[in-house]
Point group: none
Chain length 160, copies 2
């Protein structure tokens, strides 16, 4: 997360340097200043978007996770036993199976019917990464298909 800020700063510095270096050429063509500015604007707008997504996406992720926790509690309180608002239940199951938080996160999206590609786009990771997580999660669940994994996850209380 800090790495992005560093890169951002570095790129910024380089651009400013370039800016000063190329200044002399543009001074000749006074009218190019506008174009110059537009180029810089586009460049930094892109960089800003990139930074924004990289920097802020994790916050959304956390927010989402909180929502899920609340949901889990609601479901458990309402459905099976009023005496079991066990918030750590699925976490216990998760740990018992050695499933990492990220893997569970991917499982949730699998259960929603997203393809690996879509999951990758949602979480800002490559499809390959999703596949890796899936494979490991399936292995730990003893599942060989994603549908099977979803079914088992729900049986185990890993997913609502």
């Amino acid at each position: 997360m800090r790495k992005q800020v560093l890169i951002f700063g570095l790129v910024g510095g380089v651009l400013v340097t370039l800016l000063q270096w190329t200044e002399f050429r543009f001074v000749v063509l006074e009218h190019s200043i506008a174009i110059y500015g537009v180029l810089i604007a586009i460049l930094f707008a892109g960089a800003g978007i990139w930074l924004g997504t990289r920097l802020l996406a994790p916050r959304e992720r956390i927010r989402e996770r909180v929502v899920h926790r609340v949901v889990d509690r609601i479901v458990e309180v309402a459905v099976p036993a009023p005496t079991t608002p066990n918030l750590t239940a699925d976490d216990t199951v998760r740990k018992r199976l050695g499933i990492t938080p990220r893997e569970l996160e991917i499982l949730e999206l699998v259960a929603r019917g997203l393809s690996n590609r879509e999951i990758g786009e949602t979480l800002f990771v490559s499809e390959n990464t999703v596949k890796t997580h899936c494979s490991r999660a399936f292995d730990k669940l003893g599942a060989r298909r994603r549908t099977e994994a979803v079914q088992r996850s729900k049986e185990l209380g890993l997913l609502p």
Copy 2:
């Protein structure tokens, strides 16, 4: 999501206009071009970050909404009567969607995590037949993957 892009473009245009208007002042101070560029860079970097967050926030919102919907359903289905083999309910839904009994039967097995081959062996039909049923059911459900089909079926009360 498009609104932000529009605003972004408008702001960009205004800035470019301002840029050209203020050009004359800066031409006098040639050395200010660097500062000029840096200002633009900062401005648009900020704008980019803003755009990035705005662009990504809706996805999270939608996701949250879906979660709530699921919760409502689960509560409704689970709380009133655990012993509700409500055949007429899902049958209504089934007919409304034009899903045949056979297709629903295949959907149930899909939801259990069986592969097409296994489903075929279970029902004593060929794998191709299973594929055909699946394709048609998916189409009627508006799903493009079996996981998606399962999810939608459960949302619709077609499957427990």
